[in-house]
Amino acid sequence: MSAYQTGLIVQISITIMTVVAVFAMTGLAGMFSLGQAAYMAVGAYVTFVLSRFLDIPYPITGIISILISILLSWIIAVPTLKLRRDYFALITVGFSQMILALVLLFEDFTRGSIGFSKIPRMDNLLLVSLVGLALIIFWIRNLKYSRFGRMCIALKNDEIAARSFGIDVYHLKIKIYVLASAIASFAGILMALRNRVITPDSFGWAQSAEMQIFLFFGGTNSLTGAILSAGGLKLLPEFVRDVTLFGVSMQEYRTIIYAILIIIVINFRPQGILGEKEINFKWLKNLYRRFKQSILKKNESYD
């Protein structure tokens, strides 16, 4: 496999990871956040800055950075999750700007907008990404079909009704938000290892918005929808890399393409491509049965 292909697979697994985490937060629990990329930044910067300046191997600082993200997201969640949903979304935008401002402020350590480079090479990055991705998908799938998943869907529908069934809406939301943020920071570490350089503009709010776009495109109520749309939409610009428009590669227009796609989806299929469907074994079996039936019918009509 060429380095380009490996890098692409790692990048796509990172994207899917972040979108799956956003699925747990927005799709299940209805918390609309535009600040998840900030936790990626925390993961990436804390891991490698600490590793360099304290001379500790990065797997250890990686764990520290995830713990810091957990603490940070908990501190953010405690006051803001008492607010209404739209205010919560606004505060997450502010929070992500704050993290990026801190990166620029501590220029001596982070090298500011020039970017923090010379990140050590990780030989089995592909394997780590794929195993991490599989584990995270397994977790979130289990979450969806557990009592926590059901309570999340209930509170997303109607918080007052959820409370009338004894569901502690506030604490449940904090748990899910912290979980999603921890996953995002892990994805951030992988992204730094892949790119070998960390720049603040790769964690801007556009990055967070991209996660939401992927989620809404696939369907906020479908985990497999989120996975497929994240993988597909991330891969899409790679196919049009050689096509040029006004002398620029189509890849550069990807934000515009995403925006157009999301406008189309929101207008014509507001529940997302998959809606509430999950593509699982049962679904495939049903599809196969219907396919077989339609072939049988066709054969009959020929007779």
Binding site: L143, S146, R147, F148, M151, A162, S164, F165, I167
Partner: protein
């Protein structure tokens, strides 16, 4: 049975200058059905929202299961066994009928987030118990055939029943029904009345409190009725007493003639 399960004393609530409920006194015993009637805007739903602690009262006390619950939150009284339905059906979209019933049991689930994420054996055992309990609730109320369906595929009358089943799943002490027949046609309404009587027979210790503005439903169902008008209790008593009370006739039935 003389145990008073739910009791209010001089309960009052005003929104701005508008007095929604004034000096409301009621009590209900286990195993009984009582009703609150009154025209639109009489403050009936406000009473429910006060009892289930969605609103905080201005004055008065609420005693539930022998405890003063005025300082408790909505979640706490729900966990103590005060269950309710809402005026519009509020079944959770994205969950099937069985999962909707399970939600009522989930706050009491014993397994942690950790065992949920890793799908540990303990989680599977607990999940089976939750499923059995939810299923037995549906079976008891003859709704088990709809377990796998999405609520939006059910008729409005059945959605109402599922909602009531969900409110009963956690074996509450008091069930409060907020206009259970709203939006139902006469046939569905009479089926719902049979359903509620059936619940009373199957849950002998359950106290049921019904809000309704349709007379025929409440007269058949309840053994004691409170009549509200503009926040005040204008009459209370048995259905027969209410039907002959001149104040009620003037304020409420008078409009229909």
């Amino acid at each position: 049975m003389t145990e008073q399960i739910l009791k209010t004393h001089n309960l009052s609530k005003a929104f701005g200058g508008v007095c929604a409920v004034k000096d409301f006194n009621m009590e209900i015993n286990a195993g009984r059905i009582r009703g609150i009637i009154g025209p639109n805007g009489a403050g009936k739903t406000t009473i429910f929202n006060l009892l289930s602690r969605i609103y905080k009262e201005d004055e008065g006390t609420i005693e539930f299961a022998g405890q003063d619950v005025t300082s408790k939150s909505q979640i706490e009284v729900a966990r103590m066994g005060l269950s309710r339905t809402f005026q519009n059906t509020r079944l959770f979209v994205g969950l099937n009928v069985l999962d909707n019933v399970k939600v009522a049991l989930d706050h009491d689930g014993k397994y942690s987030l950790f065992s949920a994420l890793f799908k540990l054996p303990f989680r599977n055992k607990q999940e089976r118990m939750i499923k059995e309990k939810a299923m037995s609730c549906l079976e008891l109320l003859n709704l088990d055939e709809f377990a796998k369906l999405s609520p939006s595929n059910l008729s409005y009358g059945y959605q109402r029943r599922v909602e009531i089943a969900r409110a009963l799943a956690n074996d509450p002490k008091v069930l409060m029904l907020d206009e259970p027949a709203a939006g139902l046609n006469p046939e569905e309404t009479s089926m719902l009345m049979d359903f509620i009587k059936d619940i009373q027979a199957k849950y002998p210790n359950l106290a049921i409190l019904v809000i309704e503005h349709r007379m025929e439903l409440i007269m058949n169902l309840c053994d004691h009725i409170y009549v509200q008008d503009s926040g005040l209790t204008i009459a209370e008593g048995t259905p027969a007493e209410i039907q002959s009370n001149p104040k009620v006739l003037a304020a409420y039935l008078g409009e229909e003639e």
